[in-house]
């Protein structure tokens, strides 16, 4: 295993320090925790937003802390959900007197640890609500009692809820905005090469020279299906077909898309998926109003990508287009 690290045990801690070192205008670290919070906290009386999860998904989640998105991001060890005391510290840091919304990706560990933290915060008198993102269509929710996973589409939820909170919506309204986004977002990913968790030192799986995994999550785990590698357009078509079917898209829908790199896939290649996504939308008669192209929620140095679609209506389109100023997502630059 070759990594740009010092001691494997210090990776998360040093990376958090590094984010603050790089983005002091955006981020502070809550002392003694793995929580990143806004350098310039939002005004009192606005709803706070907390998300987080295991590390290894950078820029998620610390990269989305800032104006118009999250107020605190809680980091666990690599691919390991954070512990309740850390989430509690995040809730406290995000609280500005109007309640806090937790945006949780649907994994057993995340859900349970955030749930315990929520109970703790409530017992301290902080109003906390939570939403669980489950955008991964690779997992057929009806088959498993755990439901579907949350993957890259979660960033759309951060953005929508963040914009609502920044505008002064109440806790109920912010939760409703998040739920409206969750209801309309679907994602699916694939991997052509695995990643190596620093503490484990071994790739999470091995693939033959002509094999890939379809339906992967974001924790280096194998997908729902192993299959021969396929051209980019074919992969995009398979995924877009699944997303579209699951969303029940009929002709002429308003959509936003995300083409998300898992870590090692060059932007050059991701762009080829973006091209196909627009071709697909055009041939299906949809209106593709935004494409987010880049690395939004990664799996360390896994090679592969995920595509997300979100069906828009006026309010959701508006929230996604609102200004945001965070380390990893900025829009709404003022031109002279």
């Amino acid at each position: 295993m070759k990594k740009v690290v010092n001691r494997v045990e210090d990776v998360v801690d040093e990376a958090l320090e590094g984010f603050v070192a790089a983005f002091p205008q955006y981020l502070r670290r809550v002392a003694g925790t793995k929580v990143l919070t806004r350098a310039r906290p939002k005004a009192e009386g606005l709803v706070g937003l907390v998300s987080g999860g295991g590390s290894g998904h950078e820029p998620a989640h610390g990269g989305y802390v800032g104006y118009g998105m999250l107020d605190a991001a809680v980091a666990g060890e690599v691919f390991t959900s954070p512990t309740p005391d850390q989430v509690l510290a995040g809730i406290r840091a995000a609280s500005r007197g109007a309640g806090v919304l937790l945006i949780i990706k649907n994994y057993t560990g995340d859900v349970m640890n955030f749930e315990i933290a929520q109970e703790m915060a409530e017992s301290e008198g902080i109003a906390v609500q939570s939403v669980v993102v489950n955008d991964d269509v690779a997992v057929d929710g009806s088959l498993y009692t755990t439901g579907r996973r949350g993957i890259a589409g979660t960033v759309f939820v951060h953005k929508a809820a963040g914009a609502a909170a920044q505008r002064g919506a109440t806790l109920d309204e912010v939760r409703a905005a998040a739920e409206a986004a969750i209801a309309q977002v679907r994602s699916m990913g694939f991997a052509i090469a695995p990643c190596t968790v620093p503490a484990a030192g071994q790739p999470t799986f091995t693939l033959g020279e002509d094999e890939m995994e379809l339906g992967i999550g974001i924790h280096g785990e194998p997908g729902t299906e192993r299959r021969p590698v396929a051209p980019a357009d074919e992969l995009a078509d398979v995924i877009l077909g699944r997303l579209s079917e699951d969303l029940g898209l009929t002709e002429g829908c308003r959509l936003a898309a995300m083409v998300n790199g898992m870590g090692a896939t060059p932007l050059l290649e991701l762009a080829i998926l973006a091209r196909r996504t627009r071709q697909w939308a055009e041939s299906a008669g949809h209106q593709l109003e935004a494409v987010w192209l880049g690395e939004f929620m990664t799996s360390l140095e896994m090679a592969g990508a995920s595509i997300s679609l979100v069906r828009l209506d006026d309010p959701l389109a508006d929230l996604l287009a609102a200004p945001a100023d965070t380390p990893a997502l900025r829009q709404g630059v003022k031109h002279d």
């Binding site: 005391d85 315990i116 503490a199």
Partner: protein, 208 residues
């Protein structure tokens, strides 16, 4: 059980997890995210460090272990082990020793907490597939009049088998559930670590 034994139990459990750490990670890599060994090892190392400088009674020690696990393990297993220990603490006395019945009750409470927190059932391919039948197994042996140490030793052996028996199951809870049919044929890592706990308990009881 005495509070000294209780502390020894966690040192012993840590030692076994430490040795099996990479193997637990490998099991988790096959159907999860390759961190189960690292997670437990990290938490138990902290527990062991704390255990060294505490002389608290049983309930307080158990609560401390729960708090430490909750705040250091992370992932599904951290929330579950933490919840279990915090609940079990409520069933233990504020004294240095307790009888077998109280210890059994605490164990039962802990396992209920795992069920309440994780909503898993028998056969879902989780640690409960070891916890539930092994608790029953121990109960049966004690009811049949076996000595405590011997009964636990036998149950620990059974737990190891139960852990291996998770292989043919299809996961319906936890991360492995996302693999659907592909989870079949792999042993559940949380079940293996649970079996290690039983072995640690048996070892500690055998010592005295």
């Amino acid at each position: 059980m005495t509070s000294t034994q209780f502390r020894a139990l966690w040192l012993e459990f840590h030692e076994r997890v430490r040795v099996e750490r990479d193997q637990l990670n490998r099991l988790d890599a096959a159907i999860g995210d390759a961190d189960h060994g690292t997670n437990l090892d990290r938490g138990l190392q902290k527990v062991a460090a704390c255990a060294a400088d505490t002389t608290d009674h049983l309930a307080a020690t158990c609560r401390q272990v729960g708090t430490v696990l909750l705040s250091t393990v992370g992932g599904a297993s951290g929330a579950l082990w933490g919840s279990a220990l915090l609940r079990a603490a409520g069933a233990l006395p504020d004294s240095d020793t307790c009888d077998t019945a109280a210890a059994l009750a605490a164990l039962g409470q802990g396992v209920s907490a795992i069920q309440a927190r994780g909503h898993a059932e028998l056969g879902d391919k989780t640690m409960l597939d070891v916890w539930l039948p092994s608790l029953e197994d121990l109960d049966r042996r004690l009811s049949a009049g076996a000595a405590c140490g011997e009964a636990v030793a036998a149950t620990a052996g059974r737990a190891a088998v139960l852990a291996q028996d998770t292989a043919p199951l299809q996961a319906r809870r936890g991360r492995a559930a996302y693999l659907g049919p592909r989870s079949v044929g792999h042993v559940d890592p949380g079940s293996v670590s649970t079996a290690l706990f039983w072995q640690a308990l048996a070892t500690v009881l055998a010592r005295s």
